[in-house]
């Protein structure tokens, strides 16, 4: 007897037909002998409407009342899916965060799950009842409804799977799995049968937004096996699992890209201790997140310092640096928003040399200039001019042998 958590997002429950479709998927899982808990989001568009109401009344609205308002979206879906399941002959019951309970801290609007009481749900699932649980929400220590922040339903599902000791957490989305790269750029990208948590995190952080980053971190910590699959097509998806479960480790599992970054160069910074701390301390104080950083070797006591920030933060970063110019002592700030970050990701590169070199050669063959390089244990990222994004992704996809036969 397997026990699974099935999670359906807003587009999968957008209307009554979609909800009936979800009910028949759940029914098939029950008939296949699984104990099932389902986590649902609000029907597509509902949360946006509720957020707009709150904004319309007060731009700086109370987060506790915002949570009370927006949590209703999921509540409606749970009740409707329970009705649809019953209509299909499957015993089912809806559960709100406060009923389970799903306990969180009191950080309204962006709460973190503190613990889930799974005993009663397990008892009912064992007796054949499907538990339909509201994603995205919980209850704080003050007996107030909390929400986990946008996209939090993935995290709800993984946390519930951990609490219920489920064999698997199936996340149904509008894509049918995780691909070696964006199929809109490389039509013969391959769907991965398995990917490790670490790889998934690196891909998510560079723009492959299939799963919420928090949910993958939680799954990794709690050893919850995730399956990403389509709620519309009936095909196998991608398993996100521990590295140990992946037998044939590829050097490179996927190519990711992001156009969300901007490049900043500080010219002729004095090369003395404490300068880096002065630059990045000032940016941090103004809530500017810095990603890639490189510093060239010094000449005549001066150096150039280059780093990336998110495009949204660029104006704030420029203002901050302008204000700190006298104290830090650089000659000028150069800013370039027309860049893309291209990353190759793979747990196999831990044990294989030459991965970075393959990347540099492939880009050189296409005459693509590399502006910045950074590496981590399972990722190599480069910054290139934005106009080369698609060319670079395609070249790397081929260079690492990822093209489908």
């Amino acid at each position: 007897m397997s026990r699974i958590v099935m999670k359906f997002g807003g587009t999968s429950v957008a209307d009554l037909d979609c909800i009936r479709n979800v009910a028949s998927r759940v029914k098939r899982a029950v008939e296949a002998g699984s104990e099932v808990a389902v986590v649902v989001s609000a029907m597509a568009g509902v949360t946006n409407q509720l957020v707009a109401y709150c904004q319309g009344l007060s731009p700086l609205h109370d987060a506790r009342e915002y949570d009370a308002v927006v949590a209703t979206g999921e509540q409606v879906t749970t009740g409707l899916l329970a009705i649809a399941l019953q209509e299909a002959g499957v015993e089912a019951r809806s559960w709100q965060g406060w009923q389970v309970p799903i306990r969180t801290d009191n950080a309204h609007g962006k709460a973190r799950i503190a613990g889930i009481e799974g005993t009663e749900l397990i008892r009912r699932m064992q007796s054949g009842q499907v538990a339909v649980v509201s994603g995205f929400q919980g209850i704080g220590t003050d007996n107030r409804i909390t929400t986990l922040g946008r996209g939090g339903s993935d995290t709800s599902a993984v946390a519930l799977a951990a609490a219920l000791r489920a064999d698997r957490c199936d996340i149904y989305t509008d894509v049918d799995g995780v691909y070696t790269t964006d199929p809109r750029i490389v039509p013969n990208a391959k769907k991965l049968a398995r990917i490790s948590y670490e790889e998934m995190l690196e891909l998510a952080s560079v723009g492959a937004k299939v799963l919420q980053t928090r949910s993958v971190e939680l799954a990794m910590n709690e050893r919850v096996r995730i399956q990403v699959l389509s709620s519309f097509a009936d095909v196998p998806g991608t398993l996100v699992v521990d590295e140990d479960e992946i037998v044939e480790k590829q050097n490179v599992s996927g190519i990711a890209y992001s156009r969300d970054d901007a490049k900043i160069t500080l010219r002729r910074v004095p090369d003395r201790p404490g300068i880096a701390a002065a630059v990045f301390g000032a940016l941090s104080e103004h809530n500017v997140n810095v990603d890639m950083i490189v510093q060239n070797v010094s000449a005549d006591g001066m150096t150039d310092m280059t780093f990336t920030v998110s495009k949204a933060d660029l104006p704030r970063a420029q203002a901050t640096l302008a204000g700190a110019q006298a104290q830090i002592g650089f000659s000028e700030v150069l800013a370039d928003p027309n860049v893309a970050k291209i990353s190759v990701v793979g747990v196999g590169m831990r044990s294989h040399a030459g991965v970075a070199n393959t990347m540099f050669r492939a880009l050189a063959d296409k005459a693509i200039n590399i502006q910045v390089i950074s590496t981590s244990e399972i990722k190599v990222s480069v910054l290139v001019a934005a106009e080369y994004t698609e060319l670079a992704v395609r070249a790397l996809h081929t260079a690492y042998g990822l093209d489908a036969a």
Copy 2:
């Protein structure tokens, strides 16, 4: 320091502008020195949409899940009104049925309130915080959301007023009070400054649907003073209070009418013991509610029996009687849906003779034939042909001196 409960229905909170309008009314009450709890319904149209969703998935849907779905309508309004109040500088907090808690039985979809825990709300109201409470809902003993049935928000407000020992329960509606009769029929009908619970119940039961009948019964039992007033116009409303609070008792306070009844006559029924029980027992078994009943004196051991049922029940009543004809032994069933019930209501008629006589004379003067008469302690009702409805109401309104100067 007075303590009041203010209740706003769906049309009063239909959109953000309406909600802001409600917030400013509540603010005025707070600034006038009152401790305030507010009970709200769902935004107009929302409940119908949610009910349609449930119906669309399953005509015979589970009442527990129906309750989970439709209760969200009120939850949204409480959060939004709390935000609007805070934006207006008034401290406020939303409360769902399970948070107060408002305890009910487990009759999902038509639950009855068993008790309300008011201590925490009173504590907060005394410290200056407005409690914004969801109407129409509570929590059953099984930790499931319950709803009180359509229109239940009036009942929520009265029950809350009783639990909070409030000085008054103000019910804001789209009319500005209780009138001596329907102003659409009699343009110079007068708004009543005060009316007793008993009169209000009699008026409600014959078609003046300003307040839900259950809420008036509850107010009478719990001695909660109700004020009916307009959420749009800023004028005094009507107080619904104990008879003792009404100094100048009118013989007749109001004229009500209803076109919802149909008349049934059984011709030549055997005049012997047990016949009435046979007739009305059969109807009761088939859930047909009988209202006015008259039986003529007997001639040659036979009599005619006339009574009214609601128009909606007429086909079922006819079928029931046809099936019982052999057993009861009448000659034929005559049915007439084209009737109207006209009632004069007033606590003063207890101590004044001649009230009925004034009615019969006024109708005779207009040549309106009375088909059936029934009386209670504070009401005289007659059945007339439906085409005379307006004429009869106007004649009686004048005859009892109710026309505005």
